[in-house]
Homo-oligomer: 248 residues x 2
């Protein structure tokens, strides 16, 4: 075990628990602590860093919040370096992205542009590699979006599911992970929109175009479909926001 105190700038001494967490985090990121390796017990860490156990525990909880470690009780328990799974990474990515958008007055246009730019990056790969399951998921969501009784919120959720299937079709987990934030974080913004029956019809038509392009492995058409959908979404948002708040 090699965990040394962070020897960085003395600037302003942060909390002890933050310092200890940083030291252990560095050890993990630099490979000095490997996956599934057991950290010393809380008592040992407390002695090593010359702090009390509650302080060590606060540090460990910080790391647990980032899924860097997991803890287990019992005789052979302890804190273990956690293999960060794609699932956990998704969740964190989505939390961070959602809050970033909701707290920073990011315009709908900016977020929307980013999302569709990223999706267009996936489209060619997805068109080339999509499996039957991804196509089926896309078709299923399109059907669902046609149900008239669907609330706006459920329509948005289905929209997200459609786009996630599109992204996952690229068969690149890193890409799926990166896009998860961009797609999911848009949902709260999309939920501010009221989808009229007419706009739903247009969106469903565009979704169908995109799904068909993916099915036909037509990369160009898939990208063009996404561009058309982006334009439609942006126009819809503009009209909704203009109607709702004519004070801006």
């Amino acid at each position: 075990m090699k965990i040394e105190p962070a020897s960085s700038g003395p600037a302003r001494p942060a909390d002890l628990s933050a310092q200890i967490a940083a030291a252990i985090r560095d050890a993990i990121m630099e490979g000095r602590l490997i996956v599934d390796e057991r950290l010393p017990s809380e008592a040992e860490l407390a002695e090593h860093f010359a702090v009390s156990r509650p302080t060590v525990r606060e540090a460990l909880k910080r790391l647990a919040a980032q899924s860097l470690i997991r803890t287990q009780r019992g005789a052979t328990g302890g804190a273990f370096v956690n293999r960060l799974s794609f699932e956990e990474a998704y969740a964190q990515q989505i939390t961070t992205s959602t809050l970033l958008l909701s707290m920073n007055a990011v315009s709908f246009a900016t977020a929307c542009e980013a999302r569709y730019a990223l999706e267009r990056a996936c489209a060619p790969l997805s068109a080339a590699r999509r499996g039957a399951d991804h196509l089926a998921a896309m078709r299923r969501e399109i059907n669902r979006q046609g149900e008239p009784a669907l609330t706006d919120e459920a329509f948005c959720a289905s929209d997200v599911a459609f786009h996630r299937a599109l992204v996952d079709g690229a068969g690149n987990p890193v890409l799926s992970y990166q896009l998860a934030g961009a797609v999911e974080a848009m949902q709260p913004l999309m939920n501010m929109i009221t989808f009229s029956a007419r706009s739903r019809t247009r969106i469903i038509a565009l979704h169908t175009d995109i799904a068909n392009a993916i099915a036909a492995q037509d990369q160009r058409a898939a990208c063009d479909g996404l561009t058309a959908l982006e334009d439609e979404t942006q126009a819809l948002a503009r009209s909704v926001f203009a109607t709702r708040s004519p004070r801006a």
Copy 2:
């Protein structure tokens, strides 16, 4: 203030501090706690949730680790809902992405493909909008990459800086944030590569092509340049890994 215990599935009762952290996190994400709002004091939270103060503190440290709150000591101190800045979001994104790649046996090819796909999504926007500062940064890094005394690690760092300038040129902070993880997390993988003088020359030439395309606002050429660079990088990585570990 409205913070109610998470009423989710009873599955397996997690730690109290995790439950409390989740309850407060939900309150923040659902807007029941707004930016800069002060949370109740630790003592009040302890009473509200019927737990001890150390347990509350562990919960708060979890939230602090995600930059959801910040704390301040003193008479008017306390825990405040933190406005998640792009800086903080970058940092978390990079930490998560880096660990995800290093811990999950993601192949260089997969990570590289994702990175360049995402960068190609930025290229058209960057070509359209890049400012003089972004172009200058790109040229500066290209010059730096030509210095013969540069270590491989410094060459990689400059490469990252070049690509970040390219991404930032798109003028979309959301896009920059999303790409930060993809670009930076590749650096440890790139550092495993030895860059011969010949390969450096080729990379610099491709960087120059890309910078020129961006300068000329030629979207197509910028994308093609990135594709060429991706091919070059992938080929380089293949040759390096094949030479180094012929056991796989």
